[in-house]
């Protein structure tokens, strides 16, 4: 009851931090897809590079998030603004699932289908846009979905460097030893993750061809 009361009293701030959170996640995901999708496609054309690039993205993934924020702090242009820094770190985190799923999704397209497409006189671009990407779309979107849920979680850490978002409540609550404040950050973050998962799941279902 007490917690609910606290939520209602602070609904304005909860809403504001949720929107901030959403903004951090949204921009990071847009960047991650804008970089990861073409990179994943490129790797299917230059398979020799795939080990190095996916390995590199894997290493980024293993760096603890707080440490990654710390590492980027001294970077010249990035360090100037907290949100810039946070978005860079979140994008790096989201990159791996996007690249990996694009790569494996396209390579997973039935070889005979690709063969038929080429044999019928499709150009490389037509094979990519009309055959490979549509058939790999389910796998690619699954990667985007995983990346988004991860990013919603990791974005709470962004508050540690002053980039805002629902982490503000969590860090403040920990400092104040007040569970109500922690929950004011944690519950909306969890709901946000579930909502994103649901929406992207629907999109995945809609864009994946009927099996």
């Amino acid at each position: 009851m007490d917690t609910l009361h606290f939520f209602i009293k602070n609904q304005g701030q909860i809403l504001q931090l949720t929107l901030e959170h959403l903004w951090l996640v949204g921009i990071s995901m847009l960047l991650a897809v804008a970089i990861g999708l073409p990179l994943g496609i490129l790797l299917t054309r230059r398979r020799a590079l795939s080990k190095a690039v996916i390995g590199g993205a894997n290493i980024v993934q293993t760096i603890p998030s707080l440490a990654l924020f710390g590492f980027l702090l001294p970077a010249p242009w990035l360090g100037e603004r907290a949100d810039r820094l946070a978005i860079t770190a979140l994008t790096l985190y989201a990159l791996l699932p996007v690249i990996r799923n694009t790569y494996t999704g396209i390579l997973g397209v039935d070889a005979s289908v690709r063969e038929a497409a080429r044999g019928m006189g499709m150009t490389d671009l037509q094979v990519l846009l009309q055959v490979e990407l549509p058939l790999a779309m389910g796998v690619i979107l699954a990667g985007v979905r995983v990346a988004t849920v991860i990013t919603v979680g990791v974005a709470t850490i962004a508050a540690a460097i002053g980039a805002g978002g629902l982490g503000e409540f969590i860090f403040r609550g920990v400092a104040m030893v007040d569970n109500r404040v922690i929950l004011a950050g944690a519950i909306p973050a969890a709901l946000l993750a579930l909502l994103m998962d649901l929406l992207l799941g629907l999109l995945e279902h809609k864009l994946t061809y009927a099996q």
Binding site: D110, S112, V113, E115, A116, A117, R118, G119, M120, G121, M122, T123, Q126, V131, P134, L135, Y209, A210, Q211
Partner: protein, 255 residues
Amino acid sequence: MSQARETVIEFRGVSFRAANAHLLLSDLSLNVRRGETLVLLGRSGSGKTTTLKLINRMLEPSMGTVQVEGRTTLDWDPIRLRRSIGYVIQEAGLFPHFTVERNVGLVPQLGGWAPAKIHARVREMLGLVGLPPEHFLSRYPHELSGGQRQRVGVARALAGDPPLLLMDEPFGALDPLTRVEIQREFLALQIRLRKTIVFVTHDMREALRLGTRIALLEAGRLVGVFTPDEFLHAADPIVAAYVAAFRTGDGDSNM
């Protein structure tokens, strides 16, 4: 067989070496004449599919030349060459995310035909292969039987009205009964359309049934080119082995 008939495809001393340096085809010389069905017969790994892919420049010869309509394939723009050649492969060559209509209409669509013309052409092609258009246009490949899929594959290859068809074991995955049925339709269709066809199979019964001439390949080399009748009576030991296996009833299995 009139030797004077016009040559459409000509292999001259063609060898093909794969990226792993394995020689898949050596010194092949072969002509395909207009309007005939040339069957490439041989076991797995004999070089049949390699030979086929050299025609539409999916592969390029390591040595020698392949000429299509009097021009070497290397002088052709590969995209234009492939669009002028129908291509049918086994089973899964249909695009699973396209309806039958889009699958069959693909080559005309790539060629920039008007939508109404494509639509009419697709209906005509489906009729030609014995699939009532109103029942099949909006279906997806996974909703069809194996025989129906193969018919759609043939319709798709014919849609651009190519003078030349390449068929790579098109009926290989079908049950024996459907296969015989579709082979019969194939023969009837060929009498009407008079396409030049290069047909790959490992099934000797199919080769004898469909081929105007049969080119037998073994380990990347051409054993010889025979009419079905010559094939059955050839003295060559490799051909004789095929025929013997056929007579003991194994001719239909995977040789």
